[in-house]
Point group: C2
Chain length 203, copies 2
């Protein structure tokens, strides 16, 4: 990737992408508020001016980093195509726990940014969450999770599946912060079992 | 309460309490950010100066209003002492849905304030949530909810009960915003059934 002089020569798009990756990586140990253009410039070894050239202003920069983090989350937790629905769910959950463990500060700040008044971050978070939740339904009709539990795709079921994803988010964040002796295997088993569990009272 | 002149004569503590009640009431239709000392002064028909006398500054005022809202929530959802554990849970959930319906804007802003970087609001929210969650365990040993489902009070069970409360919060907020035809009775049944449901995979 590097030329002999140590300088990286790449297209502006690739360069921007590389800077975003660095931004997301920096979020693993600091919150979005603590991620300034100055910090990124310093870590990337380039001028602040050049960063402003790529990202416009701090708001645009934060939006781009959060968008990238959300895309990463969606990508790494993408369900595999083979296997039983429950196994596919368990593997997605496994990847989700990995993601939150590795990117704790950034992930919590994604959730907090969404809960704060910032409408842009809120929209990115809601979109990402909709993608993650809709997966439960997308596989319906092809031996998906809903079929296994003999459930229809109704507003009530959607409401509870959305609730289950709020549960998973809360439980995984709490567990990464302090596992209190709960093993990762038990965590994953409980989260997977909780999906049919929360749907058991659906009309 | 009022004297013939229309002025209210009461002790400073009672007056402060009355102003807080007004503050919480104003939160039913606006967020915490939108609740300024000026708004409260106007609604209460007193001077800003007097309000600053009672509450110090805007941060202290917001903290006091959020504390009052959290206390109200804890009080109105207090479980009744009689009845089967599941009925007691259902009645608490019923009161919780009422509370969120009546105080929608303020409740969402309590949740958002907690998720934001404001440490004071975060602590108040976490304390309120701990009280609400601990109730599930407090009744253990006396025909409580855990006994009914033959569960021990373990870190894994605590983690999932906390997750269930995140689910309930998310589901009730979504439902109040747009019920999509889901009846209140179905909502309450699903939320109550979800508690044993999320615990079904506990080790």
């Amino acid at each position: 990737m590097s030329s002999p002089s140590g300088r990286v020569r790449m297209s502006p798009d690739s360069r921007r992408e590389q800077l975003l990756e660095l931004g997301v990586r920096l979020l693993s140990s600091r919150s979005l508020d603590e991620l300034s253009i100055e910090t990124l410039a310093e870590e990337a070894g380039i001028s602040r001016g050049l960063l402003y050239h790529y990202f416009g202003n701090k708001q645009d920069f934060h939006r781009a980093v959060v968008r990238k983090a959300a895309d990463d989350l969606i990508r790494v937790t993408a369900p595999v195509q083979e296997g039983e629905p429950i196994d596919r769910l368990a593997r997605s959950l496994d990847a989700y726990v990995d993601y939150v463990s590795t990117n704790y500060a950034g992930y919590v700040s994604l959730v907090r940014g969404a809960a704060s008044g910032n409408e842009d971050l809120q929209r990115i978070y809601e979109e990402a969450r909709a993608v993650l939740t809709d997966r439960i339904f997308d596989v319906a009709g092809q031996d998906g999770v809903l079929d296994v539990f003999h459930l229809q795709d109704t507003p009530a079921v959607r409401l509870m599946v959305r609730g289950w994803s709020a549960l998973a988010e809360d439980v995984v964040i709490s567990w990464v912060r302090d596992d209190r002796g709960v093993s990762r295997a038990d965590l994953l088993t409980m989260l997977a079992a909780a999906l049919p569990g929360v749907l058991s009272g659906s009309p």
